[in-house]
């Protein structure tokens, strides 16, 4: 169960001081930007030290491994080690772009993730607003738990649910279709249905998580705003439109930017297990991650896998910077940095 206290704890990050006075010399300026001036440092010392373990972990698991990028440019051999292996430049990247599959997997990855981001944002916002209205209801905890629960179910298991619904011989949906005297649909042989199936599965899985975040955001909005709106005669829908949504924009944009940063990384479990790695469905379900897996599973080439991972991260990085730049142009306050 998720209670209100936890939610409030998660509420939106405090605004950063943007235009504080800065010392002149560069290293000092850097330290200043990191920790604020001496007085700020003193007052925040306990908070800073509490964040230290997190920062250390982040450094170890997110920054140190970046050195491994070098593997993508080497012909990595176990016995020679990373530094000892031969430098081969961009050769490891060739397999990604050598066939016309490159266009398809890029298109599928981008389009499916765009669909996921947009549908999840819209549906999660709707659900969050509904949950907020029902927040004092007895059943609200029950709703939240039910919505959140799928988030913990592995895609392997979900793939069996989906198979039970869709398979050709004994699938539930085909049984219903039989009962209606319509023609059966061979789901696992018809790629055209799969974008919708995957979007539904992704929503079912992720909506609980995202809506809880938005709900936390809504609960953080000062009630005075709603009261003022009510006094001015705003109805429920107008309150949502003129108070709730504008107050949530920064959060929506931050979450969207973070999602865009991973737009080149498809959810491997979702795209691999739900279509059951079925060649007949590749035209709509094959994404960069599944393609890389399929290309390299026999070969076991770590360097080529590293190249694919680097390519995804690099494009993701460009997209975040680009999207942030666009957001900054529209409204500086909403930008990530």
């Amino acid at each position: 169960m998720i209670n209100k206290k936890q939610l409030d704890g998660q509420a939106s990050p405090s605004p950063k001081p943007r235009h504080s006075k800065q010392p002149a010399s560069t290293p000092e300026r850097f330290l200043h930007r990191l920790f604020g001036n001496e007085r700020e440092l003193k007052t925040n010392l306990s908070l800073l030290s509490m964040s230290l373990p997190g920062i250390v972990l982040l450094f170890i698991f997110a920054y140190l491994p970046m050195l491994g990028i070098v593997i993508a440019f080497k012909d990595y051999r176990f016995n020679l080690g990373i530094l000892g292996s031969e430098w081969v430049g961009f050769q490891n990247f060739r397999f990604l772009f050598g066939t016309d599959a490159a266009f398809r997997i890029t298109r599928n990855t981008l389009l499916m993730n765009l669909l996921f981001i947009s549908t999840t944002t819209v549906c999660a916002l709707t659900v969050a607003i509904l949950m907020n209205e029902a927040y004092r209801s007895r059943l609200s905890k029950y709703y939240q738990t039910m919505l959140f629960f799928p988030y913990f179910i592995s895609w392997v298991i979900v793939s069996y649910f989906v198979f039970a619904f869709l398979n050709g011989q004994t699938g539930m949906i085909n049984r219903w279709i039989d009962a209606l005297n319509l023609d059966r649909i061979a789901w696992y042989r018809s790629p055209e249905y799969w974008p919708a199936i995957l979007v539904l599965a992704n929503l079912w899985n992720g909506i609980g998580f995202s809506s809880i975040i938005y709900l936390a955001g809504i609960l953080g909005i000062s009630p005075e705003l709603f009261e003022a709106a009510k006094i001015d005669g705003a109805g429920k829908l107008q309150q949502i439109r003129y108070v709730t949504l504008p107050m949530l924009y920064p959060m929506i944009i931050i979450l969207a930017l973070l999602a865009i940063g991973r737009i080149f990384h498809a959810d491997f479990g979702l795209f691999f297990f739900l279509p059951r790695d079925n060649p007949l469905l590749y035209s709509t379900t094959d994404v960069i991650d599944t393609f890389v897996y399929r290309s390299l599973v026999e070969l076991g080439e770590i360097s080529m896998a590293a190249a694919a991972g680097f390519y995804q991260s690099f494009v993701g990085f460009l997209l975040v910077v680009g999207a942030n730049w666009v957001v900054r142009r529209v409204n500086e306050d909403y930008a990530l940095y």
Partner: protein, 513 residues
């Protein structure tokens, strides 16, 4: 979505290896070595014992592992002065764990390696396996002499042996195992069956009479295309389309997807699917196997080695017939090297490790201890004269506290006790099959993937997408083959074939017939 999910096995491997780079590669290896030496000192205070670990794949970890390990050490301590540690890893994780450990340079002694798991070719290319020629001659003369040099050649890469071949069935006698009750009921005369297509009248009769899809196939799908059945030597398990006619003394590799044999197999498969002999959407493996046990299939087709009817009976509960339809039997590199044990380049005592392998392969007592457990505890004699064992009363293969059921992993399978009186003589028959199989002209040749790995990655994606649906009978050959072959070639199939042909000629020049 802010969330972490397991991406791909490969990227996990990658990440982990990246993390490991943070510390110098030798540091963990050294500390591990020190630890294991200390561990060794604790349980076995006897002077002069050498510690050897054996790491292999296992279906779960047997409950009585320690008991078996102790029983083995009772012999090994005195005989070769070795303290053996068994280190089974669950099959589901075996490949990833081994690749991670090997890539991290962790110390190991004996490991299981094969073309299909913990890849032999990759391990050799990565230099993590010790060369074995001298070790075999000096430390394992019995093992060395148990197989003809031509068989050992199959394990050679660039002239050096890196893996000890486990003797078992080497050729692939692809054939059929129909249920005996249904064969009798619908008048199947297996003697007159010489090819897949001869099964069709009976399959049709079973389909109509029993109302079932007669041929057992599990997801994702499977076709009748089995290269050895059609006389091909598939030169590399990782390059699905590549093969060579086993009797082609000019050593010319071809694209098997372009061969008339592939077309025949694909067309028959399509017919079997269309006629309802094979399921169009096969069930996942576990469910398909339970369906077989429940009588939902009438026939399987697989490697019909001697005694396979008994194995099928044990697995599915019905009585089976079994017949190989593969003529002639072909001995190829992949078949001979299907399961191997190798010694790590990081091993401190490769000589002692080889002596352990000598025991695994030539000492029937040790071998059966490892593969079957302790007499009187895990199994009892059914007929000691014919070396037939059975489980003790009230115990079966699933409830036994030590039943790895992977004889083929540990050593010479011909030293195994029989599990069923009906199997008596199967090892002699299998050995005869091995000895009389027709050696492929390319027996002993191993593809060096290094110069063509980009093309292999590209073509394997194309093969899975466009050739497999034809192979599985989902797409008609005439509808899909032209595009599949064109795309294969665009992805570099011809480059691979040219390179492999060059390697074949080189290999022939170095190994004249």
């Amino acid at each position: 979505m802010i969330r972490h999910r397991v991406l791909t096995i490969l990227s996990v491997l990658l990440l982990a290896s990246m993390v490991l780079t943070a510390c110098p590669a030798t540091a963990p290896a050294d500390s591990m070595g020190a630890e294991s030496q200390q561990e060794a000192a604790a349980p076995s205070p006897a002077e002069g014992l050498v510690n050897i670990t054996y790491t292999y794949g296992s279906r779960g970890i047997p409950a009585d592992l320690q008991m078996v390990e102790d029983a083995m050490n009772e012999v090994l301590h005195d005989k070769i002065g070795v303290n053996l540690t068994l280190e089974p890893i669950d099959f589901g994780a075996f490949n990833d764990k081994m690749q991670l450990r090997l890539s991290a340079g962790e110390e190991c002694d004996i490991i299981f390696t094969a073309p299909w798991i913990n890849s032999y070719a990759n391990n050799v290319a990565n230099g993590v396996l010790a060369p074995l020629d001298d070790l075999l001659l000096n430390h394992a003369p019995g093992l060395w002499g148990s197989m003809p040099p031509t068989t050992w050649d199959a394990a050679r890469v660039n002239g050096v042996i890196y893996g000890v071949i486990n003797q078992q069935i080497f050729p692939k006698p692809w054939g059929v195992h129909p249920r005996k009750d249904l064969a009798d009921k619908y008048g199947l005369d297996l003697n007159s069956v010489t090819k897949w297509e001869d099964m069709e009248p009976w399959l049709a009769a079973v389909r109509d009479g029993e109302g079932i899809t007669p041929v057992f196939v599990a997801a994702p799908g499977r076709g009748l295309w089995l290269p050895q059945y059609y006389g091909f030597d598939p030169l590399d398990d990782g390059i699905s389309f590549l093969g060579m006619k086993a009797d082609d003394d000019s050593l010319t590799a071809v694209n098997m997807a372009e061969s008339v044999e592939f077309q025949m197999a694909a067309e028959s498969t399509k017919r079997w699917v269309d006629e309802g002999f094979m399921p169009l959407e096969p069930l996942p493996n576990d469910e398909a196997q339970s369906a077989f046990r429940a009588g939902q299939y009438a026939m399987g087709y697989h490697v019909e080695k001697p005694g396979n009817d008994v194995e099928a009976q044990n697995a599915y509960g019905f009585e089976f017939l079994s017949k190989s339809l593969t003529v002639p039997l072909i001995l190829d590199t992949a078949g001979a090297t299907a399961t191997m044990n190798a010694i790590c380049a990081t091993s401190q005592n490769p000589g002692k490790a080889m002596e352990v392998l000598e025991e695994f392969n030539t000492n029937a007592f040790i071998y059966n201890l490892l593969s079957r457990g302790i007499e009187g505890v895990h199994w009892v004699w059914d007929d000691e004269v014919n070396q037939v064992m059975r489980f003790p009363e009230g115990v079966d293969g699933n409830t036994s506290s030590y039943n790895p059921n992977t004889d083929w992993m540990f050593g010479n399978q011909f030293n195994a006790y029989y599990r069923d009186a009906k199997q008596v003589g199967a090892w002699e028959a299998t050995k005869k099959m091995n000895d009389t199989a027709f050696p492929s002209e390319a027996l002993g040749f191993v593809v060096d993937r290094e110069p063509i790995k980009t093309e292999i990655a590209q073509t394997s994606a194309v093969y899975n997408e466009l050739v497999l649906p034809i192979q599985y009978g989902w797409v008609a050959y005439e509808d899909g083959a032209a595009e599949a072959i064109e795309k294969l070639n665009e992805a570099g199939a011809q480059t691979i074939i040219n390179e492999v042909n060059r390697q074949l000629q080189d290999w022939r020049a170095r190994n004249p017939r």
